[in-house]
């Protein structure tokens, strides 16, 4: 983050920050996903207590619900998992799980939502499920605009291997064109 972002509204500030992150990681969101991300960040900006939620419980609870309650619960789980994996990936370490744990639960929640809601909203949730890794990469970049890496090299390696995150690959390469080599049984 090279300069202070001074916009008249919190919406405009989040939007500017997301634009800056997209440019920094060379990813582009379409207008729908960008808007969703802006409003997601606005909704959760003043709710730090959300990090205390247990996603496994909430997800399993959503499976017992019907109709609007189920939709609300699934959306909540998807949104939280996106925030956890994108903004607070170190939370996974404290919970003794991998970041991809939240990625899998979040993607599945959005995918299920796309199956149960009407056609117009189904397209949105389908997109969120498909673009989950891109959204996570943009949130990682947003946190890293301050200059510090969000993930340890090992976490970046795991997340790249498990999700194909381009941001993690960039972190591993350190700006060079080097690719990590996996497989411990290889001899060099």
């Amino acid at each position: 983050m090279s300069q202070l972002i001074l916009e008249p509204t919190s919406q405009a500030q989040w939007q500017t920050l997301i634009h800056e992150a997209q440019a920094a990681c060379d990813r582009n969101l379409d207008e729908t996903l960008e808007s969703y991300l802006v409003f997601l960040l606005m909704r959760f900006a003043d709710r730090p207590e959300c990090t205390a939620r247990i996603m496994a419980e909430d997800y399993l609870q959503s499976q017992q619900l019907q109709g609007a309650h189920r939709e609300e619960c699934l959306r909540d789980v998807g949104d939280h998992c996106l925030l956890f994996s994108g903004l607070f990936p170190r939370l996974a370490e404290r919970r003794l799980v991998r970041v991809s744990y939240f990625v899998n639960i979040g993607r599945s929640s959005y995918r299920q939502l796309s199956d149960v809601v009407g056609r117009q909203r189904a397209a949105l949730y389908g997109q969120l499920s498909e673009a989950f890794i891109v959204l996570m990469d943009i949130l990682h970049t947003m946190r890293e605009l301050g200059g510090q890496s969000l993930l340890t090299p090992i976490q970046a390696m795991e997340l790249w291997q498990e999700t194909g995150s381009r941001r993690c690959l960039q972190q591993l390469g350190g700006g060079r064109n080097a690719l990590p080599v996996s497989g411990s049984d290889e001899t060099h």
């Binding site: 496994a56 997800y59 399993l60 017992q64 899998n104 639960i105």
Partner: protein
């Protein structure tokens, strides 16, 4: 009737449930699924999910550190 096996070993709940859901989506009523897991939480979570979604658990077998849950796929919910 087809039988498929899902490897959900070393996955923590609810990921085995998610794998099961994904696999059931590709099955027909009457098909059998065998889910092999290591997280003991699946003994509660998968049967609960099956109950809600109309599938039948016909076997829960434990051996060494693994748990196999046998599911007969019900009508689509």
């Amino acid at each position: 009737m087809n039988t498929a096996t899902i490897d959900a070993r070393h996955l923590l709940c609810p990921l085995p449930v998610i794998r099961t859901q994904d696999a059931v989506a590709d099955c027909r009523p009457g098909d059998h699924l065998q889910v092999v897991c290591t997280d003991p939480g699946v003994v509660h979570d998968i049967p609960a999910w099956c109950r809600v979604h109309g599938h039948e658990v016909y076997a829960i077998e434990r051996s060494d550190n693994e748990i196999m849950i046998g599911i007969q796929v019900g009508e689509a919910d």
